[in-house]
């Protein structure tokens, strides 16, 4: 239907997924990490939608005289996942904003350096916050 050879979509998915993964682990900026997470997330969406596609099929809205439809199930899963994704991204951004207010920085290295100079007990709690925002 789309004229693409069979596995091309999957390879794109892998590339995008790894691009997102690279951003998450290699960049220290927390906002950038969230963007990387978004890239990763979108690649998963593409993976699901690719699986649901049926060659010669139509969009899953019943019309007279059409018998082949793409599978509606992956569409449903991804539809809700997108909206949940934006909600969780908002939580992540809110955490980043709070971290910025507390530390004056959104760079992982700088925050970590500040933590090291703090006393041991508060360091653990904030490092945990930091990890949450980065994921």
């Amino acid at each position: 239907m789309t004229g693409m050879p069979g596995l091309f979509n999957y390879l794109i998915v892998v590339f995008l997924m790894m691009a997102g993964f690279y951003v998450v682990i290699a960049h220290g900026n927390l906002v950038k990490k969230l963007v990387g997470l978004g890239l990763f997330q979108a690649s998963v969406f593409i993976l699901y939608i690719t699986m649901g596609n049926l060659s010669g099929g139509q969009a899953p809205i019943v019309v007279e005289g059409v018998t082949a439809y793409s599978s509606p199930l992956p569409h449903v899963l991804i539809l809700t996942a997108i909206v949940v994704g934006v909600a969780t991204a908002a939580v992540g951004l809110a955490l980043v904003v709070r971290i910025h207010e507390a530390y004056g920085s959104v760079e992982e290295d700088e925050i970590h350096a500040m933590d090291l100079s703090d006393d041991k007990s508060s360091m653990d709690a904030r490092a945990a916050d930091d990890r949450d925002a980065g994921q």
Binding site: V31, V35, A42, N53, A59, V62, P72, V83, V86, A89
Partner: protein
């Protein structure tokens, strides 16, 4: 793909966020091509619209420029390459695009497609599966969205700022053209949101998309007509109640069917004719989802926008 690479390389976070919006829009076009109209719709409204606005508001609260990376990227590159190679190896076994014998098309899908319209009584199979066959999942998702809204409220809160400055827009200056166009657009967006909400049974659309589109109208109003302008129309206190109300409508439908002697969220209990009951149930549930999504998205926007005002 190229846009993704550009988004990684740039250190101007503003450009990164804009590119991310473009990336979302392209993804939506790809979904359209792959026959996933409902998903494309959601991705375009959420990814390209709401996410970009939220990211920009949090950039406003933090910093625009990324610090130069001080660590060595080689280790990360190795990890990523190894994982990627493993995934490519796995992908080689995957069924081709559009292969009718793929596992996805074997298990429950034929039943959804063949029986969907007869059992739930609506042509849009995505809505039928979303609200009826997979009603539990969708209820869970709605609760997750509600919980995310709560978390943002706890983290940021909405400051009741006495210094509301309705005349002052986020863009700055007196944008006559922008204001006039927005005035024409907003009623259309709201009308479209309602159409998407109630026509979701027949065409592409449903509660999730409608909620987001509805919220977008208010976000636009707030951006163009001055911070706090939308808050005068829909106060945050209402939104708190609306968000809870949306989840309650969904749960209430489930509890009602329990009380009527049927399983939780079995809409056949809502009317004498099971198909009619299903249709009514889906409509109510989608309404609940729409209200919950609308109020949570708008609440989150208020939270971010309110922060920027009080910390400028």
């Amino acid at each position: 793909m190229l846009i993704a690479v550009a988004a990684i390389r740039l250190s101007d976070l503003f450009a990164v966020v804009m590119l991310f919006g473009v990336y979302s829009l392209l993804t939506a076009a790809l979904f359209m091509d792959l026959d996933a109209v409902d998903v494309a719709f959601t991705e375009a409204a959420v990814g390209a619209g709401v996410t970009t606005v939220l990211m920009l508001s949090s950039l406003h609260l933090t910093k625009r420029w990324e610090a130069l990376p001080r660590r060595n990227p080689v280790l990360s590159l190795i990890v990523v390459s190894v994982t990627g190679a493993a995934l490519v190896y796995a992908v080689l076994d995957a069924p081709g695009l559009g292969d009718p014998s793929a596992p996805v098309h074997q298990h429950v899908t034929p039943r959804y497609i063949e029986q969907g319209q007869a059992e739930v009584g609506m042509p849009n199979l995505v809505t039928a599966v979303l609200a009826s066959y997979r009603g539990y999942d969708t209820f869970g998702e709605t609760v997750v969205i509600f919980a995310a809204g709560l978390a943002v409220m706890l983290l940021l809160g909405i400051k009741d700022d006495p210094r509301l400055r309705p005349g002052e827009s986020a863009i700055g200056g007196d944008q006559l053209v922008l204001r006039s166009v927005t005035k024409v657009l907003i009623p259309l967006i709201l009308l479209y949101g309602l159409y998407v909400q109630f026509h979701g049974d027949f065409g592409a659309g449903g509660g999730f998309q409608a909620g987001v589109i509805f919220a977008t109208a208010f976000v636009l109003y707030d951006l163009v007509f001055g911070e706090g302008a939308a808050r005068a129309v829909v106060p945050p206190g209402w939104l708190h109640r609306l968000a809870a109300l949306g989840v309650l409508i969904y749960g209430g439908v489930g509890v009602y069917s329990l009380l009527a002697g049927r399983p939780f969220l079995d809409y056949s209990a809502l009317a004498d004719d099971p198909v009619h009951g299903q249709h009514l149930g889906v409509l109510l549930v989608e309404l609940g989802v729409g209200i919950a999504v609308f109020s949570v998205v708008l609440l989150i926007f208020y939270a971010f926008a309110g922060r920027s005002r009080s910390h400028r």
